[in-house]
């Protein structure tokens, strides 16, 4: 056997899966064929998901997966092979090398060949170990904690359904490259969520929340999960009587969730250097330029422990670091990986993430956050707004990175009238042009924090964190 064919036992998946000498031999053979770079990245996952419906266990699924991706760079182009048949990797060196060359043969002179930015070659292991390992969680514990949410969420006759969900995972990665990189790392994530549905004689509405992040069981045990259920219940009941939001241009104050979604969708994605290189970013050519209000400073930080987008080492083996994307309104840095750092002649900043062992790394965000401003609180932000909207809780968002347009939707909102919150509203969405909105930010509260955990889709889905302070936009398109 060349490499271990199956994951090790459930509670010891940090043990080595790749056989160093055999993999090195396979990677060397790629170089002998003429490749400039080759790597094998293996990911072993131990997962636990569960859900309650109306307080009763609906499903629980323990799982174990293992997969690996081989990448070969030859003549400036990539060939990739992904498989769950780990033993087959050495046999895939030659066909994958040929794939890379076939891509290279199609590249015309106007297109640059791929060169990877140089990075430190490291051989080590790094394990972010939580106090309470997710692999030791009993199903009873998951049920008990979800029930804390359920009991608070269900406490009203108009609440017709409460669905609670749970997921935890232990992610173990091994990366070996033809440059001599040999790193193994692991970390964990945990999350619970709830969706509350309320109904009266006129309508049916729902409200949902998530809580979680990078870490183990202690992350959920340390908070009052019942509060999440109470908040959902109260919000769902309030939505039953809420009016539809007005449409038009007006001042808008976004809560932490929506500030996070906006900054992720509207700014974070256009900052991804692979989109910039593809001509699909409104921020192309704008490094060093003022693109927004001086109040705006944005970081992307995978080392923000506890954030759902945290990771210790990126999927090309680089030590992670905080990226300062915007500093006082000036575009300071793109998120990049080795290929785009090479393309733009930039310092690599460890932005490579892959969904799992079956996917190759793309440039991705981690924990993206707007830093705080000078306003004390919500009252301070809305005091001088005669007519506007305060929008809360995210239903998600989307961006057209090339055109620089975006949309995000709120779960609920309030009308602001003469500096006070008045009527509750529903079905609020906000759209606009990234650069226009960035310039229209005229107020931020001091207390920037990560908001709810989220997922980002870009062909591959990865967990992310985002957030910031409450943010005031003086002129936004609502509805």
């Amino acid at each position: 056997m060349v490499m271990a064919a199956t994951p090790s036992k459930a509670n010891s998946v940090d043990s080595r899966n790749l056989d160093k000498s055999k993999v090195n031999k396979a990677l060397d053979s790629a170089l002998e064929m003429g490749a400039t770079y080759a790597e094998v990245r293996l990911v072993s996952l131990s997962t636990g998901t569960a859900s309650l419906r109306d307080g009763s266990l609906h499903r629980a699924v323990p799982g174990q997966e293992i997969a690996a991706t081989l990448r070969i760079l030859s003549n400036g182009s990539w060939g990739v092979h992904s498989t769950t048949d780990i033993q087959s990797i050495p046999q895939q060196i030659e066909p994958t090398f040929r794939l890379a060359n076939a891509v290279a043969s199609r590249r015309d002179k106007s297109h640059k060949s791929i060169t990877l930015a140089e990075v430190p070659i490291i051989e080590d292991e790094l394990h972010w170990k939580p106090k309470k390992d997710v692999r030791d969680i009993q199903l009873e514990t998951r049920i008990e904690l979800m029930n804390q949410v359920h009991q608070e969420a269900n406490d009203h006759q108009n609440i017709i359904s409460v669905q609670c969900g749970w997921s935890d995972e232990h992610i173990h990665t091994e990366l070996m490259t033809s440059e001599g990189m040999d790193r193994t790392w692991s970390f964990q994530r945990i999350m619970t969520n709830v969706m509350v549905t309320a109904r009266d004689e006129k309508e049916v509405v729902s409200y949902r929340m998530r809580h979680g992040g990078e870490g183990g069981l202690d992350l959920l045990e340390s908070v009052d999960l019942g509060e999440m259920g109470r908040t959902c219940r109260v919000s769902a009941l309030r939505l039953l009587g809420a009016k539809r939001a007005p449409s038009g241009r007006m001042p808008l104050v976004a809560d932490r969730d929506l500030t996070g979604v906006y900054i992720h969708e509207a700014l974070g994605h256009p900052c991804e250097a692979d989109l910039v290189a593809a001509g699909d970013s409104c921020l192309e050519g704008k490094l060093g330029q003022k693109i927004g209000s001086e109040l705006i400073t944005v970081v992307d930080d995978p080392l923000m422990r506890g954030g759902y987008g945290a990771y210790p080492i990126d999927d090309e083996g680089l030590d992670t670091k905080k990226k300062l994307l915007i500093k006082n309104g000036v575009l300071n840095e793109y998120l990049n990986h080795r290929e785009t750092a090479g393309y733009f002649d930039l310092e690599p900043n460890a932005g490579a993430r892959a969904q799992d062992g079956l996917h190759h790394p793309l440039v991705r965000m981690s924990n993206t956050m707007v830093l705080g401003g000078n306003h004390h609180d919500l009252d301070d932000l809305i005091a001088d707004i005669p007519h506007g909207i305060y929008a809360c809780g995210s239903r998600g968002g989307q961006v057209d990175t090339g055109r620089g347009s975006f949309q995000f939707a709120a779960q609920e909102a309030w009308l602001i009238e003469n500096g006070e919150l008045t009527s509750p509203l529903k079905d609020v969405s906000v759209s606009g042009l990234t650069l226009e909105i960035l310039k229209n930010v005229d107020g931020l509260t001091k207390d920037a924090k990560l908001a709810s955990p989220g997922f980002c889709g870009k062909g591959q889905t990865v967990p992310v964190g985002d957030g910031g302070p409450l943010m005031r936009i003086k002129d936004a398109l609502v509805g």
Partner: protein, 466 residues
Amino acid sequence: MIPDDAINRLHESASKVAQFCDELGVKQWEIVAEQGYGHSVELEGGKITMASGGGSGGIGVRVLDQGKYGYAHFADVKSAKFAIERALNVASKSPAIDGFELPSLVSAKSVEGLLDQRVLSLSPEDVMTQADEILSEVDNANPRAVVTGGGIGAGVHAGVLVNSNGIEESGMRSSHGFSLQVTIDENGEQTSSYEGEYSRSLIHDFEPCVSKAVHWAEVTRNPIKGQDVSDCEVLMTSEGLAPLFSMVFPSALLGERMARKESLWSEKMGSKVLDDHLSIVDDRLLTGGISSTGRDAEGVPSRSHKLVENGDLISSLWSVRDSAQMVDEGRVDHAQTTGSAVRGSYQGPPSVGCSNLILKTSNRTKSLEDLILSIDSGYVVHSVMGAHTANPTSGDFSVTSSAILKVENGTVIGALKQAGLSGNLAKAFSKNVHMSNDTRRQGSYSSGSMYLPDVLLKEGLRVNPA
């Protein structure tokens, strides 16, 4: 593309897992084993950026004893015993569902058009040649247009489902699909359009899809000034409608959601829910259908299922498990499987869902051009951003479009740069709905595959130009 003995290997794996189940005294078990293979090419910046290939698969096991069930998935047969024990542990903590038994063997129809040998014979080089053709078609259509994203892929999926009650089903499905984002960036103005096509059989002609992408990148240039917010007629092309339709209507048709009163159509059985010429059919036996299967994910024979007929809600979709559970909980007096169990992959147990969801009309249909001619003052919308933020429990949505054309007196007078589009989809479909004569398959959503024409919604929608 796939080893000749792929199905045999999956059968062997499933048999070994079944043997372990028997050894561990599992009363009822169901095993699914899957393996997929494929080649794909990514397009970016007007060129092929990467070629990839590979295969992945795994095994899932559902155990059932006295109405209590558990599930686990794993990568290799060597982990099977451990996984079965974990599934049994889950079952021991699950509530018992009275009347929940795994289905027995009943003969099922086979569905044609799910496996195309021509797709299986595509080599990585063939797929790259097809990618070249797409790039070339875009260049021919408009040399200023650049493919800024997308790709093409071909694959095959092999699967085996066996259970302790005698079901032993296996099959292979091919897939061939491509997508492209076309961008025209000129004179400081950037417009783009995204199109795609996905099929169980070989796609011969990329030109129609490419032309549509280039067309929408072209017609949205030089935008006109938007007018005030208005409640107006909106013609949603099949492509523009599909993401919203797939968010709102499939979940409304699930029996379990109706029983739990989570569906926007709960307590509406037998009532008018759509305009009285509209029907919705879930056809799992559709020839070549993206979501067609001879048996559902629990092994129950598939069928074509009329859900809405002439505007009336007449039926809903059930799986074995949720029908038993809803009866056991007293939420409904009677329910039984409609052969509508679905499974995303071996990594999860079956749930209930739509397959090929087809919107039909008994009224006379028109061409897209004639539908536009019938608009006094309104818009044509070809794509939306944020459809996933629509609320499936209410049907309310508020999305944004950058592919929106203004129509006055039956004539397109120009494109808007961007506009908000909001309303309630269920209400908009409840009256004054007109449909084109061109029903098109729109991708594969998690809620099923949508087969939709272009639809003119005369009431209930609001457009908010930027």
